[in-house]
């Protein structure tokens, strides 16, 4: 299957997963992912009839149990993601560890192929069929990596939810927004239709959709891009999840709309105490939203730390290069932009050393053969041979 197909369907499955739809895939295919795609796609094609049929097969899941309220909200340890391709295995994410405290907003920054989206996909259980994740991901102390789909479905949309880059392909074009929103509440909270509708309207109103009671009856194509993203956000937040994943939530939007959406996410996360994980390539977006930044390259964490420190004093040559190569409105225009030579690898190359070594200005012979030790102090981490934290 071409990679594009996988990416395309994953968004649809994402929405299905938020709505709890992928329950249908129980035991259908090993991994369950592809079944989810099919279920979603068939649902989309045949519309409401199939939808109802599927729903009749699904039990209303009880609200999730808190396993350990003292533990970090989300703890990722030694996460590795591999994809089996025709050309052999590829490690998309290699030994990523990250711990999130309640209410904080963390930005994962990286260029294409850095593995940033795959981290979210593996946590949500949405990896493509040829992908496997190993390591450990604990949500409130409960291990969720490799969890069965029916168990994951109690968490997805309820305790953790995700919004995607393209708000059009992540909503089902055949269903009214009302159907898609109320389903989350009916499924996860066991609400009746009328009560779910009432709450969905309140939520739409909260994300700034004017005339929500009327607009909820519309179909996704009747909304503009910015409004669709608001619908996605309201869907993701309906059950007040502990963690919200946002995968390039504003990349498809204009700057003026982007500013509105970022503000909205910031405000809602603050009032609901939601932990937000934002994946983006835009350092400006990270600066405006995040408390902490993780810089990813070639599937590995290069540097992480409090946002103010990373932006004021980047240490890793990659982070430095990235910040210097951006034209910025807050600085004088100077002739030439700094550049990082070469381009990011489309697939991480297996290397015993540092993945950034081929493009690094301060590389030394050891960088090619020896993996940099992760240094850490005062909430900052750094993986580089040449710079001392």
């Amino acid at each position: 299957m071409p990679a594009k197909g996988i990416v395309g369907t994953s968004a649809l499955v994402g929405a299905a997963a938020i709505a709890g739809l992928s329950l249908v895939t129980r035991g259908a295919v090993p991994g369950g992912f592809f079944g989810g795609a099919l279920g979603g796609a068939i649902g989309a094609l045949l519309g409401l009839g199939v939808e109802r049929f599927l729903r009749s097969k699904v039990r209303a899941a009880p609200p999730p149990v808190l396993v350990d309220p003292e533990a970090p909200i989300l703890k990722i340890e030694g996460l590795r993601i591999r994809f089996e391709t025709e050309g052999g295995g590829v490690a998309a994410v290699d030994d990523v560890s990250l711990s999130l405290t309640p209410g904080e907003t963390v930005g994962i920054v990286g260029e294409s192929g850095s593995g940033k989206s795959q981290i979210l996909m593996s946590i949500m259980g949405l990896l493509a069929r040829n992908g496997t994740a190993s390591g450990s991901v604990q949500l409130r102390g409960q291990e969720i990596l490799g969890m069965r789909d029916q168990d994951l479905d109690r968490l997805r949309g309820a305790v953790m939810s995700i919004i995607f880059q393209d708000p059009m392909t992540s909503l089902n074009p055949f269903l009214r927004v009302s159907t898609q929103l109320t389903e989350v509440l009916i499924k996860h909270r066991g609400m009746g239709r009328a009560e779910a509708m009432r709450q969905a309207i309140v939520m739409l109103d909260r994300v700034g959709i004017p005339d929500a009671a009327k607009r909820i009856r519309l179909y996704p194509h009747e909304f503009s891009g910015g409004m669709r993203q608001r619908v996605m956000i309201s869907m993701a937040l309906l059950c007040q999840p502990a963690v919200l994943f946002a995968d390039e939530p504003t990349t498809a939007l204009d700057v003026t709309i982007q500013a509105q959406i970022l503000e909205l996410i910031k405000e809602l996360a603050a009032t609901m105490g939601t932990t937000v994980v934002l994946v983006t390539h835009d350092l400006g977006v990270v600066a405006s939203l995040c408390d902490r930044v993780v810089v990813l390259y070639g599937g590995r964490i290069m540097e992480s730390g409090p946002a103010e420190q990373i932006f004021a004093a980047p240490l890793h040559p990659y982070t430095k290069g990235l910040l210097e190569s951006m034209p910025r409105l807050d600085e004088k225009v100077h002739g030439k932009l700094h550049t990082i030579p070469g381009q990011p690898p489309s697939l991480p190359r297996p290397t015993p050393g540092c993945p950034f070594e081929p493009r690094c200005e301060s590389r030394q012979p050891e960088c090619r053969v020896l993996r940099p030790r992760v240094q850490s102090s005062n909430g900052r981490t750094l993986a580089c041979h040449e710079v001392v934290l």
Partner: protein
Amino acid sequence: MTPVPLLQVDGLEMHFPLKKHLFGGPRRVVKALDGVSFTLMPGETLGIVGESGCGKSTLCRAVLRLIEPTGGRTTWLGRDFSRLGGEALRLERRNMQIIFQDPQASLDPRMTVRQIIERPLLNFPIRETAAERSARAADLVTLVGGHPLWLDRYPHEFSGGQCQRIGIARALILKPKLLVCDEPVSALDVSVQAQIINLLMGLQEQLGLSYLFISHNLAVVRHISHRVMVLYLGKVMEIAERDDFYHRPLHPYAQALIAAVPLPDPKLERAKPRLRLQGDLPSPLNPPSGCRFRTRCPKATSLCAEIEPVLKDYGGGHVAACHHIEG
């Protein structure tokens, strides 16, 4: 004597009529461009900014007459370009080339890089042997930061940034005077984007090119442009010299656009005065009366609904169309 502008556009209009309604009624028209005027001097870069749907790309295509404008006049090096037809138009077009947003999609996957770069030469009566063409392709691919070895490979073997370099080489082989750049770096990674911006600026210096540079990224436009033009729903809101524009944007829309750009510095970003535009771009089918921006404008008054503001000069060629600019 003032130099002759390379390109002068006066009142350019691009109206797209929609299908007639089943039950009659007046035919509805989308005014994608409604009276756009500007000049471009030789060796100059004019940055064009605005939200999606404001007419940026339509403007490029209408200037090149890739789509036929429904009104207005384009003067190219002192000659009326809008009336050129047939062979004369075709021959003149060698002086104006375009590069696109999606570098991979704009190269034919079944042609080698050599064929892609040489192809424009075959369209014009240029007497050159295959060897001469080949030498020029090799020179160009080197000029854009590639390697002659690229010539016998296919587009899929290259990354986005490399494909954009190939697209630039193809555009330059006819030695054009004007290069229209339609979001040339939007699809590229940050580290590669800087390489292409540097390349374009270097080429301008070396070859004396003029650029119409479209981007939604205001920081990129600031870096590369000499002057900036702001479009909103097919109308010009403001045109100014680059530094003047970013220090003293006059139109409320320009101010909001600049304020919306997130700065890569958490301290500055949090301290920044907040100026958020409400709502979305209105439908171009039914633009607001008077000033088109008034539905989202923080300064709008009843005057704005009644009378459409015209472009006024506020000194030094800084023009803006708004009733509420002081001084």
